[in-house]
Amino acid sequence: MTVPMPASGGAGRPRWLFVPAVLAVLFLAVPLLGIVARVPWADVPALLTTRSSLDALGLSLLTCLVATAISLALGLPLALVLARADGRLAGLVRTLVTIPMVLPPVVAGLALLITFGRRGVLGAPLAVLGIEVGFSTVAVVMAQVFVAMPFLVTAVEGALRATGTGVEGAAATLGASPTYTLRRVTLPLLAPSIAAGGALTFARALGEFGATITFAGSLQGVTRTLPLEIYLLRELDTDAALALALVLIVVAGLTVAATGWLSRRTVRRSAP
C-alpha cells in the first residue's frame, strides 16, 4: 500500500525520510552518550586534579583566552573592513580568510612551522634576534589563532552585511564621526554576533590539535593542551582521558547553547 503525500510545499514530507534522519541523529549522539556512560564519575574530581591534568586544563584555558582576545583584536577590524568592501581584492581576502577553516589542521601546523620555525622564512631572522617561537606556548596560541580567527571574521562579517548600512548612515547625518558611529552604533548592534563569534572561536581554539602538535609539540605545562593530553592518555589512562574529554564536551555544549541564545536575541532585536 502506498501512502499519499501532499504534492507541494513543506506541508508534508515522505515518511521514509525519517529513517536516514533518525540514523543521522543516532550516529551523532551515541558516541557522545557513550563517553558520558563510560566516564568514571566517582573518580572525576581526582582525575581532573592530577598534576598533568591541571597543567593541561590551565594551559588550555590560558592559551584559548589569549587566542580569542587576539582574534577579536585583529579579526574584528578585518570583519568591519571586509563587510564594507567590494571588488576583486575583497573577494580574494575573503577567500584567504576562509581557507584556514577548511584546511586540515596538520597542514596549518606545517605552514606555521615552515614560516615561523627555527629555519623558517620569518623564524630564521627572529632566531637571530634570539626569539624562538616554535615549540613554545606562544606557538600554541599562534596555531589556535590561525585556525580559529576565521570563525570570528566570518560570523561578524556575515552579521554586519545582514544589518546593512542604514543606521550607520543615519548616525553620520546626525553628526557622528566614523569612530563615534563605530563605538556607539555599529559595535553595540553587533555585540550578540561578536559574542557568538567569540564563543565559536574559543571553542575551536580549545579543540585545536593538529596544528598545535605539528607546530608546538607536546610538552607538559608548555604546549600540551587538553586535546593533546587526551590523545596521550587515551591508552595509558583511559579514565583520565574520559574525564578530560567530558570537560571538552561540556564546554562545546555550553558554546552551542550560548551562540544559539545570542542569535535568537539578535533576531528579536532586529525585528521591526
Binding site: 543606521v167 543615519a170 546626525l174 566614523p178 555585540a191
Partner: protein, 354 residues
C-alpha cells in the same frame, strides 16, 4: 545668500542638475522614478560625490573640485522612509544621539532630547526601547532626533512613503508644523501632490537628471507643464500651438477651445489641461455641439471606486483619461480598441503658455 546652491554632475547616474534654495524655503523635488531626485538629495547630504560642479551650504563650499565635506560635518538632518532608530538605545538616547555625537554634555543633551520628544508627542515614550515603538511613533522619534541637532538644512526622502495611510496624515501635519511653520530650510522628495502642497513652498521638477522647472508649488501644480506633474495632480495635459486668444491646435490638427487666464500668443507653444471628470465619452460623433470633441481610441478601462477610469489615445498617441460612471461605461460598450469621441466643455479647459 543662498541656503543651498547645487550645480553638479554625476556621470554614472546621468545627473546634471542645478538648484538654488533660499533660506527658510521648503523645496519639493518631484519627478518620475529614477529621474535623480534622491541622487540630488545625496549630493547635498554628502552621501554622493559629484564628478564635477560645486555644492554650497549657507555660502560654504561643501563639495567641489578637491573639496568634500563628509556627511557628519555638513550640519544637516536626513529623514527617510524608514526611521532607522538605533534599536539598542532607548527613545531618549536616540533623540539625544546627535547632540552627544557633537560633544554636548549628557544632562544638557537629555533635557533637549526630552523637549524634542515632547514636541512630537512622544515625550512619555522616552524610557522605552526603540524597538518597542510603533511605525508612526518611530517616525515621530526620528523627526525629534533629527531636529534636536539644529540642522541648517533638513533633507526629507519620502518620509511618509512607508507609513500606514491611517498614520501618514498626522506625521504630515507634524512635519508641516516642525519644518515649514518654524521656517526651516528643507528639500523634500515626494511622489505625492498632497505632500508637496502641505509641506513645500516651491516645487522643483526633476526629469532625466535635470531640474526642468522650479516655482511656487501652487503655480506649478495649477498649471502643469510636464506629463509627470499633470499625472501627479491627476489632470489631462495636451500640448499644442496657440491659435487665438482662447484656443490651441493639437499636433493632430484638432482645435481645443478653453479659458486662458492671460492672452495667448498665436503660434507659440501652449498647454491645455482639464480634469478626467470633465470628459464625457461618446461612441458616435456628437456633431453640432459647441464643446470640444476629440477623436480617440480606448486603450484601457479600469474600475476606480464607484467610477471607471477610461484611458484613451488621440491620433498622435497623446493619452487622455476620463472618469465615467460604471453604468455609462457598460451602456456604451467601451472596450480597448473602441473608437470614441471625447467631449469637454470649453469652460473646463485651462489654457496657458508652455
Amino acid at each position: 545668500m543662498r541656503a543651498v546652491t547645487l550645480d553638479a554632475r554625476v556621470v554614472a547616474r546621468g545627473i546634471d542638475a542645478h538648484l538654488d534654495v533660499a533660506p527658510g524655503r521648503v523645496v519639493a523635488l518631484v519627478g518620475p522614478n529614477g529621474s535623480g531626485k534622491s541622487s540630488i538629495l545625496q549630493l547635498v547630504g554628502g552621501q554622493l560625490r559629484p564628478d564635477g560642479g560645486t555644492i554650497t551650504l549657507d555660502g560654504t563650499l561643501v563639495g567641489g573640485p578637491g573639496v568634500h565635506v563628509p556627511v557628519h560635518r555638513r550640519r544637516i538632518a536626513v529623514l527617510e522612509q524608514h526611521p532607522l532608530l538605533f534599536e539598542h538605545l532607548t527613545v531618549l538616547e536616540n533623540a539625544a544621539f546627535g547632540l552627544r555625537a557633537r560633544g554636548v554634555r549628557a544632562a544638557e543633551a537629555r533635557a533637549r532630547a526630552q523637549r524634542e520628544l515632547d514636541a512630537v508627542g512622544c515625550g512619555e515614550l522616552a524610557p522605552a526601547r526603540a524597538w518597542e515603538v510603533s511605525g508612526g511613533q518611530a517616525q515621530r522619534i526620528a523627526i525629534a532626533r533629527a531636529l534636536a541637532t539644529d540642522p541648517r538644512l533638513v533633507l526629507l526622502d519620502e518620509p511618509l512613503a512607508a507609513l500606514d495611510v491611517s498614520v501618514a496624515p498626522a506625521i504630515r501635519s507634524l512635519l508641516r508644523r516642525r519644518i515649514r511653520d518654524e521656517g526651516r530650510t528643507a528639500l523634500l522628495v515626494t511622489h505625492d501632490a498632497v505632500d508637496a502642497l502641505a509641506l513645500a513652498d516651491d516645487l522643483a521638477v526633476v526629469e532625466a537628471g535635470h531640474v526642468v522647472a522650479v516655482g511656487p508649488v501652487a503655480d506649478l501644480l495649477a498649471r502643469p507643464r510636464t506629463p509627470f506633474v499633470a499625472d501627479l495632480v491627476g489632470v489631462n495635459l495636451l500640448a499644442g500651438t496657440a491659435s487665438g486668444d482662447d484656443a490651441l491646435t493639437l499636433p493632430t490638427g484638432q482645435r481645443v477651445v478653453g479659458v486662458a487666464d492671460g492672452p495667448l500668443t498665436a503660434g507659440r507653444e501652449a498647454i491645455a489641461s482639464f480634469a478626467p471628470a470633465a470628459v464625457a465619452v461618446h461612441t458616435s460623433d456628437p456633431s453640432g455641439s459647441p464643446r470640444n470633441h476629440l477623436r480617440a481610441t480606448v486603450t484601457g478601462v479600469e474600475p476606480r471606486g464607484a467610477l471607471v477610469r477610461l484611458s484613451a489615445e488621440l491620433g498622435d498617441g497623446s493619452p487622455v483619461a476620463a472618469d465615467l460612471t460604471l453604468a455609462a461605461s457598460v451602456d456604451e460598450g467601451l472596450v480597448p480598441g473602441c473608437p470614441v469621441w471625447l467631449v469637454v466643455k470649453a469652460a473646463q479647459v485651462a489654457l496657458y503658455p508652455r
